[in-house]
Amino acid sequence: MSKKQKEIKEKMKVTPQTILLLVLFIGIAAVVLFPIFCITLASFKPSKELLRFGLNVKIEPEVMSLGNYIFLFTGKNNYFMWFKNSLVITAIQASLTLIVSALVGYGFAMYDFKYKNQLFMCVILIMMIPMEIIMLPLYKQMIGMKMIDSIWGIILPFIASPAPIFFFRQYLSGIPKELMEAGRIDGCSEYGIFGRIILPLMAPSFAAMGIFVGMNSWNGFLWPLIVLRSQNKFTLPIGLATLITPYGNNYDVLIAGSVMAILPILIVFLFFQQYFIEGMTAGGVKG
């Protein structure tokens, strides 16, 4: 029996297992996608249907329409202001956090300096301690610094965020230090080396971390809930949370709005899956 035949035979032999695995995972995938399917279906129905019959999987063309979405875009509600606020905050927070964390990660990865290990322990310390513990004093501090109800109050305390710092440090430790030496010989300053040589090399890691930070920012809840005060400054998650009432009078906006809140991330995800996966697993993969 030739090697090829043997290989083919082996493939034939594993077929039942393959089918079993396939069935299992198709089942799991169906269960996983089911809630999203349900809410999307519900978003096309008038909310009084939802309040009368609950969330269900009946496809009823006679009651389904784009009405809720049209109301989102044109009706008298704050949805698009919240959406816009979330977009602005996510864009600013993601870009600032990335730049700052890249600088810090670079400093830790490429230089040897006094107290480096102690300072890096501080990064790990922040990573291990839930931020919720210092939320109260931080909130008082934000009042003192007049950053309540402003997007800087949301962004500034977390601008040098430990997870991206850690990730950039790991990523850069794979880059040879000779590159820096070469830059110095060519007359680059220390900052020129970073800006001209290292930064371009970091592009893929920026994509991964950009998605990671952006997603956290887009989905952030507790801290923005504390910092933001006025309705017209709310982000999407906070705005949506205010719509949950026992009477369900806002469910048109809530349901269609929830679907619209998932949509942008889903679209980005479909195009940049690889970066999502890198970004999410970044902390766990050891170099």
């Binding site: 695995l21 040897d112 004093p137 931080l138 305390p157 970073f194 026992p246």
Partner: protein, 317 residues
């Protein structure tokens, strides 16, 4: 004469500033100082937004803090912590953490092994599909689950149990069923993420190890117990750490599931929920700080035991 004098001193001063500016620039640009410039944003944030609040949370935990009136009251806040509501919150947080750990470590680990097996087809497709729930925010995800676990006879969960001949349940009015809803939600959102972690760990296992074990006649089960599990240890520790962190800090899910921080009978109140209630809803900043300190102790004890048990201190640089 006067004007001359001014001119001279003026130019001297100009020279001085120019020189010191140059010196300062050289200083900032020197190879010795550059790393500190690079990490200065972190030091800045660490001191202002971490160390300072951390210290003031300790001080405030010994005070009553009202606008214009701050008073030291010793251990009063800590004494007040011994109340049934706080114990309930601690119990809920620990229960939630323990149950999510019990579900969200073994199941994703096994599923990741299945996905990684050479008999699997469409690996990347399933990996991505199972990841999709993690894209939703806690707010949106909980909104969906709130409706799935609705109390109407027609809502999804009631229809499902109806198919088994059970009568509709008011899911979010009872302790066990609302906890079940929280666990379903956690599993839905995080299974895909944990699968990713375990997959990345599995990819670090050299192919040869498995192959030589196969040659020695190891069964799939033996391979899993003696090769896969030990080799996945580092990533398991990581998943364990972030899961404990996430579990103990859970708030949004419970807040959203009941539409506010008030679940009936506080059956889903978490430690952070109690902190939020005391600190913001009732403006007991001192008492809220004491709750924060308790949580801090929890976090420290958990992290250190874990690092000790798994010996991470020795391995990391």
């Amino acid at each position: 004469m006067n004007s001359d004098n001014i001119g001279v001193t003026g130019s001297v001063e100009r020279n001085k500033t120019a020189k010191s500016k140059k010196g300062f620039k050289a200083f900032i640009y020197s190879q010795k100082i550059a790393p500190y410039v690079f990490i200065s944003p972190f030091i800045f944030v660490f001191v202002i937004f971490f160390i300072y609040p951390a210290i003031s949370t300790v001080t405030m935990s010994f005070q009553t803090v009202l606008p214009g009136k701050v008073e030291f009251i010793g251990f009063e806040n800590y004494k007040n912590l011994f109340n049934p509501t706080f114990f309930k919150a601690i119990k809920n947080s620990i229960m939630y953490t323990a149950l999510t750990l019990a579900l969200l470590i073994p199941i994703p680990m096994i599923l990741a092994c299945f996905l990684n097996s050479k008999n699997m087809v469409g690996r990347n497709f399933f990996r991505s599909t199972l990841f999709i729930p993690a894209l939703t925010s806690a707010v949106v995800a909980t909104t969906i689950f709130r409706l799935i676990f609705g109390e109407l006879p027609g809502s999804l969960m009631n229809q499902i149990i109806g198919a088994f001949g059970l009568s509709p349940i008011k899911w979010l009015k009872m302790q066990h069923t609302s906890f079940a809803a929280l666990l379903f939600l956690a599993c839905w959102r995080w299974t895909g993420v944990n699968i990713l972690y375990f997959l990345s760990g599995l990819q670090n296992i050299p192919q040869e190890v498995n192959e030589s074990a196969e040659l020695d006649g190891a069964t799939t089960m033996q391979k899993f117990m003696h090769i896969t599990m030990p080799m996945l240890r580092p990533i398991t520790i990581y998943v364990l750490t972030i899961s404990i962190y996430g579990g103990m800090a859970m708030f949004t899910e419970s807040y959203m599931l009941f539409g506010s921080n008030k679940s009936p009978n506080d059956m889903a109140l978490t430690i952070i929920g109690y902190l939020y209630r005391q600190g913001w809803e009732q403006n007991n900043i001192g008492f809220g700080s004491a709750i924060g300190i308790v949580l801090l102790l929890f976090a420290l004890v958990l992290n250190f035991t874990q690092l000790k048990v798994f010996g991470l201190f020795k391995k990391e640089d």
